[in-house]
Amino acid sequence: MLELMNVSKRVGNQDHIRDVSLRFDKGSLNVLLGPTLSGKTSLMRLMAGLDKPTSGDIHFNGESVVGMPVQKRNVAMVYQQFINYPAMSVYENIASPMRVAGVDGETIDRKVREAAALMKLSEFLDRTPLNLSGGQQQRTALARALVKGADLVLLDEPLANLDYKLREELRVELPKIFAETGAVFVYATTEPHEALLLGGKTAALSEGRVSQFGSTIDVYNRPADLITAQTFSDPPMNIVPMTKSGAAFAFGGVSVAVSGELAGLADGAYKVAIRPHHLMLHAPSGETLAQETRVSTTEITGSESFIHVETEGLRWVALTHGVHRVEVGDKVPVYLDPRSFFVFDQQDRLVAAPSQDGLPHEDLASASAGHG
């Protein structure tokens, strides 16, 4: 179990990590999600013992590990860049941590072949890393981390430099493989989509602070504040400044009746965030707020369309299934459905989130079948 207690890190006069407290259980998968420079790498370096925190304490299995050199700790780390020993074969690369630990030859051989089979490297064991593709090189680095039998495995955007499809495949395999080792598994990424695919728990980071930590899907469904919601949304959330009075939310002079949790909120100004796939281009059933917008760009992927619109000086994006053809400059109405409102107060704290069963959604197959 890895525990960070009020950990801060200052370098010069810059705060890299601000008062972070986290608890990662044995055998758990934990995602650090945040944009570049949000502190993911700094936090991992602290966890690994490569850096010392300016204040706070780090415990591993109940014992403080601050100041313990990284060599004495059983930590494995994989970086975004493919780091292997260029002069050694893939076999020796994978075997290297066990050679250092003085494991007997027979065990090494068995473990290397097991790891190689898992990572689909069996046929490349005799090659040197430079004769491999990027994906194979990164799999070699991962295999090495795997055989080390480390208590703590830190992966710093390990798939960022790989081809899209390869990333997709490894992303599915990695959590399964590492779950079996029983290590504390920490995975840093900039992509919300990747965090969701990995599952487990997620710590959302921004500017060196952990804005929320919890089960990945919960953090996604109930982001504690606006910054977490933004960190965990790709494409970005649509922000609508609204005023609530009585049982209605108003924007741009138009209002929509709300019920349940939303109706119970105090009257006043709120920031409402709506996920792109909940910004409707066709009126769904029930009460909605229709807003006239101007199309600024459209992007069509064949299965989905991203419609970027502008209204009242705000930029929104709607994501719909299927091909939705609109011309740039067209005036189109978009529909804001209160059932999909994330409501934040003026301090950016979440006060209401959509309930999971009441969400409006399109039927994927029928929406896609509508064209073509």
Partner: protein
């Protein structure tokens, strides 16, 4: 990216610090000691304060040596830096010929100073040396043992031959670090050869050239062997630069106080110039 912080690293450096202390700091302290005292032999010393320093700083002899030293260093830098950069630019960037060029460039650097001196000494002799004889045959009167200008020219030639390679290698390393895409982008932007040099190559070479200039400045400011082997500082005083003058004072005239004061003044000058140069270059970087 922040660096690993580990106080134990200091222990690793300790042996080097001890060696540096023994071979640099201790002799330097002896010199400092001599520079403020006088002796009439028998190891009896008198404290003289700053007398030697004021004497040196006021002397004609020092002004002359200093003037010659600065013009020599300036000339050497003015030739070696542009020439080195030009050669580096002309060298092939990869392949067999790149290796051949690198080996050829490294050759002069492998030859000891006094060998270089002796080589050029003979090579430039007006009666039997190929260069000296050749020049005279062409109708150019050349004799470094008699003509101050010829001696001056020979010393510079020796240094350029010996040390331009260092600038070449440093500049070449700087050029190698430039990503191919920069050249492609410049090509697409329609940049001239000069624009590529001015806006891509020169900015990328800035750091290595700073180092090259510092090294060449320090080295040439301390130049000794070349003029010594060639003419011993002559003809007359024409190639008596600072270090030649210093050795004359210390070993020729056994003026220990004066010589020590001189060494300290030279040392401080080198340090000052290097510091100024480094600070100015690095300041441009920050703004």
């Amino acid at each position: 990216m922040n660096k690993v912080q580990n106080n134990k690293a200091w222990f690793m450096v300790l042996p080097v610090l001890v060696i540096v202390a023994l071979n640099a700091v201790v002799p330097l302290m002896t010199v400092v000691n001599y520079s403020v005292q006088d002796t009439f032999g028998n190891n009896v010393f008198f404290f003289e304060g700053t007398r030697w320093f004021s004497e040196v700083l006021a002397s004609e002899r020092f002004h002359g040596a200093l003037g010659r030293q600065f013009s020599l260093t300036a000339t050497i830098l003015a030739i070696e830096i542009p020439l080195g950069v030009a050669i580096a630019l002309a060298m092939p960037r990869s392949g067999f010929w790149a290796s051949v060029c690198l080996v050829l460039m490294a050759l002069p650097l492998l030859i000891p100073w006094n060998v270089v001196g002796a080589m050029w000494n003979i090579y430039a002799l007006p009666d039997i040396g190929l260069l000296g004889y050749g020049l005279n045959w062409l109708g150019i009167s050349y004799d470094y043992t008699q003509q101050p200008l010829a001696a001056w020219f020979t010393v510079i030639l020796m240094d350029v031959w010996h040390w331009t390679s260092l600038v070449v290698l440093l500049a070449y390393a700087g050029l190698q670090s430039i990503d191919e895409n920069y050249y492609r982008a410049a090509q697409i932007d329609g940049a001239s050869r000069w624009a590529v040099f001015r806006y891509i190559q020169l900015p990328k070479m800035k750091h290595v050239l700073t180092i090259a200039i510092l090294l060449r400045f320090m080295d040439s400011f301390m130049i000794y062997t070349e003029p010594f082997v060639l003419t011993g500082g002559g003809p007359g005083n024409s190639t008596t630069v600072l270090s030649i003058d210093l050795v004359k004072a210390a070993l020729g005239e056994f003026n220990l106080g004066i010589a020590s004061a001189m060494s300290i003044i030279y040392f401080l000058m080198t340090l000052l110039v290097c510091w100024l140069f480094y600070t100015i270059t690095m300041q441009g970087e920050k703004s």
